[in-house]
């Protein structure tokens, strides 16, 4: 596939965003194949494929779509069943959703579809899987899991064991909205499928434009740039000069100035290393002509470490750049009276200070994102996430306990409807935009979600993004911007478009979301964790001066440690998984 080079026209109809390829026409081909000939899933009723295919209702009137809009539309909905049917679904506990049974969107879904759900809540976080594994082992399985994140490898494993239903025949017959998604995004099916071609989950689509550049974003204080009389830096050397000027002018006062700050959850390497080589960050895997490579053993990585070492040695980075937590970072960013940080690595402003959207002079508006830096060898990448943003598998997983997967698939497909999406994550207080209202991308807006995202206004009303939704790029950017109260969404979009999109790496460098076989997965988890620990620890040591990146001995020792942990078998696993992904 050829990467698209335009910066303006945002036709991200492909999941390989910005790399709109030759496949646009190919996707609509064999959509309704599989009908009739396919067998019903294990455990399902024989007549679960007998009902006629689901069809979409007529479009609702009164909704203004921008020209050329690709995304969900609002339609008249009809009940799926006439007699009440009940399914048991396991969901994560969430304070925002509150009681799933009494939640406003739950009620709405029940009215629209006639399908009742008995919810079972499990506590969220890392331990969710402990609980889910216990349920699986005990055979205490619900009809479906919603919002429980199985990895691709787990889906494949449980799918191959017939614990999870292969949804392929159901999707082809009972998911007209998802079929439309597959026309809009021809890559969708490839990304949904496991290596055995089974589809073990109903996906969630969230084509989030600014998320694609999240890892590579950095900010500088424009006020400070003005005060020291410098432009936004474009090379690593200019950047160093800017930070030095910040430090010299001591704009934070009393010697408290931190020219550039980082914290442990926003690693420095995903921004700075891209001036030396394409670096997507953890797990630092890239493709080179179809071969999987690890960044952290390359000479370019070492050059990057030397550069960072230089910044740190000159006192241009905060001392705790590798250990500060989010709270500490906020204390730097929100320093009373006046800012003390000149810039920061962050996914967005909220990573390092408070976002006050009501105040047009709020401090966060002083900070602007800066494009990637050009390194000494003219390397300049913004790590662009083509493949791992956009389609999430495992949002809804149907198990073999479910007698009627067709009904749950239709139930899920209803959630792809425009109005359902708005209710699912914005709550019942959304409004359709009037003609002439502008969206985030400056085109006609479709909807507005209410004034704020304050927690208590949406509490108990939404599904807090646990549901399945079809949020296309156009849909996301069609949120109305209140001209009097601009949110951070517009600048975030514009800065992503102008600062990062132009520097994205070619798509064939990105390591795709692969699926591992069970035994590989265990090995991958173990070696991967150790490698991650070693890389992070050594990076911190190299930058803070406990090790010297210029010292050949130190570097050789580091490579030795990496090799000993098992880089070679690790890369072999990834290579095999990549080849399976390519088919």
């Amino acid at each position: 596939m050829q990467p698209e080079t335009t910066t303006g026209g945002m036709r991200r109809r492909s999941f390989v965003a910005g790399a709109l390829g030759v496949s646009a026409a190919a996707g609509s081909g064999g959509l309704l194949t599989g009908c009739g000939s396919a067998d019903t899933a294990a455990g399902a009723d024989a007549d679960s494929l007998a009902a006629p295919p689901a069809v979409l209702g007529p479009k609702k009137s009164g909704v203004n779509y921008p020209p050329g809009y690709v995304g969900p539309v609002a339609r008249e909905l009809r009940p799926i069943v006439n007699e009440p049917v009940k399914f048991t679904i396991v969901v994560p506990q969430s304070l925002t959703v509150g009681d799933w049974n009494r939640n406003a969107f739950t009620q709405w879904m029940q009215q629209q579809t006639g399908i009742q759900i008995e919810w079972r809540q499990v506590a969220g976080g890392d331990d969710t899987m402990t609980k889910v594994n216990a349920m699986m082992a005990a055979g205490d399985i619900p009809d479906a899991f919603l919002g429980v994140t199985f990895t691709r490898s787990q889906l494949y494993l449980y799918g191959a064991q017939n614990l999870f239903v292969d949804l392929t025949p159901y999707l082809d017959k009972y998911a007209p909205n998802l079929q439309q998604v597959e026309k809009d995004y021809p890559d969708a099916r490839r990304l949904m499928r496991s290596p055995d071609k089974g589809i073990y989950s109903f996906p969630d689509i969230n084509d989030c434009y600014h998320c694609r550049a999240s890892n590579g974003r950095s900010y500088l204080n424009t006020e400070w740039l003005r005060k020291v009389g410098l432009d936004v830096p474009s090379t690593t050397e200019e950047f160093r000069e800017v930070l030095k000027a910040f430090k010299q002018a001591d704009l934070g006062g009393k010697g408290r100035t931190i020219p550039f700050a980082g914290y442990k959850d926003a690693p420095l390497d995903t921004y700075f290393m891209n001036a030396f080589l394409y670096n997507p960050g953890d797990p630092w895997l890239v493709l080179n002509d179809g071969k999987v490579e690890a960044n952290y053993v390359k000479d370019e990585w070492r050059e990057g470490l030397k550069y960072l070492r230089g910044l740190y040695a000159d006192g241009l980075l905060n001392k705790d750049a590798f250990t500060a937590d989010q709270d500490q970072m906020n204390r730097y960013g929100n320093n009373p009276d006046r800012p003390i940080i000149g810039g920061a690595r962050g996914y967005y402003w909220g990573s390092f200070l408070e976002i006050d959207e009501a105040d047009t002079k709020a401090r966060w508006r002083q900070y602007t994102s800066i494009p990637p830096l050009q390194g000494p060898n003219n390397v300049r990448y913004a790590a662009w996430n083509y493949l791992k943003v956009g389609l999430e598998v495992s949002t809804l997983v149907i198990t073999r306990k479910c007698k009627r997967p067709d009904l749950l698939v239709r139930w899920a497909d209803v959630q792809y409807d425009l109005e359902a999406i708005l209710r699912s994550y914005g709550g019942p207080d959304f409004k359709w935009a009037a003609k002439g209202d502008k969206g985030i991308n400056g085109k006609q807006a479709i909807y507005s979600l209410g004034e704020t995202w304050a927690s208590d206004t949406t509490k108990g009303k939404t599904w807090d993004q646990y549901g399945v939704m079809y949020r296309s790029g156009d849909f996301r950017l069609a949120e109305r911007v209140n001209p009097r109260k601009p949110t951070f969404e517009s600048p975030l979009y514009e800065q992503t478009r102008d600062d990062y999109f132009p520097y994205k790496q070619p798509v064939d460098l990105e390591f795709p979301p692969v699926t591992l076989e069970a035994d590989q997965a265990a090995q991958d988890a173990e070696i991967g964790l150790n490698l991650k620990g070693e890389v992070n620890l050594s990076m911190a040591k190299f930058v803070t001066g406990k090790l010297d990146p210029a010292d050949d001995g130190h570097w050789r020792d580091y490579l030795g440690r990496i090799a000993k942990i098992g880089l070679k078998p690790y890369l072999e696993i990834q290579q095999a998984a990549y080849e399976a992904f390519q088919g």
């Binding site: 509150g98 609980k131 205490d140 989030c208 890892n215 929100n334 009373p336 996914y347 951070f488």
Partner: protein, 303 residues
């Protein structure tokens, strides 16, 4: 000491004594500060404007006094129900567990119990080896406890550790001679336990109650594993949810608005929730404390 018989003057401390005293007070003072400061900080932070907490203005006393955080807490149904559930688990669990512990410990403390060694060995065996998560889950499932309050109370209803402490307490404070004397007076075993042993055992009863209640109050894992009905979740599980909902890897988050929302929520609720979760144990502690030292010490001596 250095006093003499005929000296009416007040006891004079030597210089060495005074230095030791000063050092003692200084060290104890430091310890007290180290323990007290986090408490005071959390309390102050819960009463401050979250913005001032985030920007580091709060370090000892509340800055920008506000009760919003506490109001917000009671806005969340799951917190209120979590609090009452935790009370039920702590009180119910402590009562049941204490009764069982006394019943198990008393016979084991008596000389004449046949097979005492074997029973004790079996008890201790379970301290070293447990069935593991999945087998225990299967058992709880098969007996039909899953997703009921009993799943929280019953599996934790007896701690062998407490049985050992209690047994030792009985052995030390209730001599065999007392039992013989009671028998001579025509007292049955049950009568002896009820009329003699229990009244003499208030300290160990208090210690058991406290241990069990605090353990239940602080526990969340069994609730995580055995409960899928939010109305039964204890407070700690809700508290944990608030704390971790925020600690997602920002690069994995799908929506920035979501992140802001969680951040606000956490900043608002974190400290007030900790205060609320700490209050009950703090309240009961002073009443149990006088027994606490006595009971636990006697029980653990000569174990």
């Amino acid at each position: 000491m250095t006093t003499t018989m005929q000296a009416p003057a007040p006891v004079r401390e030597t210089r060495a004594d005074r230095i030791v005293m000063i050092c003692n007070y200084a060290a104890l003072g430091l310890f007290t500060l180290a323990v007290l400061y986090p408490l005071v900080y959390v309390f102050s932070a819960s009463l401050s404007d979250p913005k001032n907490v985030a920007s580091g203005k709060v370090w000892l006393w509340p800055v920008g006094f506000s009760l919003d955080a506490f109001k917000a807490v009671f806005d969340y149904g799951s917190i209120v129900s979590g609090f009452s559930n935790s009370l039920i688990y702590a009180i119910g669990g402590a009562l049941l567990a204490t009764v069982l512990t006394l019943f198990a410990a008393y016979p084991l403390s008596r000389q004449g119990l046949p097979g005492k060694g074997l029973i004790m060995a079996l008890f201790v065996f379970t301290m070293m080896f447990s069935g593991g998560l999945i087998p225990t889950y299967l058992v709880v499932d098969r007996v039909g406890l899953l997703n009921t309050r009993w799943a929280i109370i019953l599996p934790a209803a007896l701690a062998v550790w407490n049985v050992i402490i209690t047994r030792t307490y009985f052995q030390v404070t209730i001599p065999e001679e007392l039992l013989e004397a009671a028998r001579v007076d025509g007292c049955s075993d049950f009568g002896f336990f009820w009329r003699v042993v229990l009244p003499l055992s208030k300290p160990i009863v208090a210690v058991n109650m406290l241990f069990y209640a605090v353990a239940q109050w602080n526990s969340w894992f069994s609730a995580l594993i055995y409960l899928t009905n939010e109305h039964l979740f204890p407070l700690q599980l809700v508290l944990r949810q608030i704390l971790i909902q925020h600690n997602v890897d920002p690069s994995q988050i799908r929506d920035t608005s979501e992140l802001i929302r969680l951040k606000e929520l956490q900043e608002q609720l974190k400290f007030s929730l900790i205060v609320i979760a700490t209050i009950p144990p703090l309240l009961i502690y002073p009443f149990v404390q006088k027994h606490f030292v006595k009971g636990a010490m006697i029980g653990s001596l000569k174990g």
